[in-house]
């Protein structure tokens, strides 16, 4: 499409010759650059694809989401290729893009939670039921934490109990592991206040404690 213009116009406007030759060089140059970055990106995909995918999968525990995040990472690496400076290793650069994608994913997800009044009220009521009217323990025996660590049996019980919690509480408990951040930053990311955060942790812990004590065989 351009070739016609390129041949005719310089003859018409001789002064434009220089401008057009620069234009032609630029067209070829960007074409060449795009091809080069395409090759580089596909090499990276082969080299780091599995590693990035493992990481995304571990952070999201979902195959489709992990695949999408990795795809988004490579597309954004491709379109920002000129910003990539050889100073940092490609692996680090890709990881930092993916990390931001994961945070974005969770930020979006945290806004999706809509829970009904019952879903909110029942677990709160249940955690209150551990205390009597003077806010003292109903059952103050409490089981010992002996053998809780490094015990596969305990791990399964804890995972099961965790999955029984309301979805948004589970999410808040897990957030600090997904996001690799401290509590204040998590609250910022999830847009909740710190006091709201530890109050949810408190209720969630009480329910976990109750559930573990029911299921744990001494």
């Amino acid at each position: 499409m351009f070739s016609g213009l390129i041949f005719i116009r310089p003859f018409l406007f001789r002064k434009g010759l220089l401008v057009y030759s620069i234009f032609i060089i630029n067209v070829f140059n960007t074409q060449w650059m795009t091809n080069k970055s395409k090759i580089v990106i596909s090499n990276w995909l082969n080299e780091y694809g599995d590693e990035l995918y493992s990481w995304a999968f571990y952070k999201t525990s979902n195959k489709e989401i992990a695949e999408d995040l990795v795809q988004e990472t490579f597309i954004s690496a491709f379109s920002n290729y000129d910003k990539f400076q050889e100073k940092s290793a490609p692996k680090t650069w890709l990881h930092s893009i993916l990390k931001n994608k994961i945070i974005d994913h969770y930020r979006k997800k945290s806004k999706e939670f809509t829970i009904s009044f019952e879903e909110y009220y029942n677990p709160v009521k249940e955690s209150n039921s551990l205390f009597n009217e003077n806010n003292r323990w109903f059952d103050d025996s409490g089981i010992s934490t002996q053998n809780w660590l490094d015990n596969p049996e305990f791990n399964t019980i804890l995972s099961k109990c965790k999955n029984k919690l309301p979805k948004n509480w589970q999410f808040i408990i897990q957030a600090k592991y997904f996001l690799d951040k401290d509590s204040k930053q998590i609250c910022q990311e999830l847009e909740i206040s710190t006091s709201n955060y530890w109050q949810i942790m408190h209720r969630a812990k009480l329910l976990l404690k109750k559930c573990i004590e029911i299921n744990w065989v001494k």
Partner: protein, 83 residues
């Protein structure tokens, strides 16, 4: 009731607050006083710590290596070609 004496519910709340943002000097003293006298809350404190530890361990198990399927690799390349 004496202001210095926390209820068990409040004490367990402070245990969680402590692990999230830390406590003021006053709150810290109140919690210590309470757990000194209340064995159930002392147990809760250690249970809570261990639940945190185990959750962390469960979440840091990166040993499972995942492989990106050839199809999704081809899909990514196709997406890049489109750009």
């Amino acid at each position: 009731m004496n202001k210095m004496m926390l209820s068990c519910k409040k004490a367990t709340e402070l245990v969680e607050k402590n692990s999230v943002i830390g406590l003021s000097w006053n709150e810290n003293m109140q919690l210590k006083m309470h757990t000194m006298m209340c064995s159930a809350c002392k147990k809760y404190e250690s249970q809570s710590k261990i639940i945190d530890l185990v959750l962390e361990k469960l979440n840091s198990d990166k040993s499972i290596k995942q492989r990106l399927s050839e199809e999704s690799k081809a899909k990514i390349i196709a997406e890049i070609e489109k750009e």
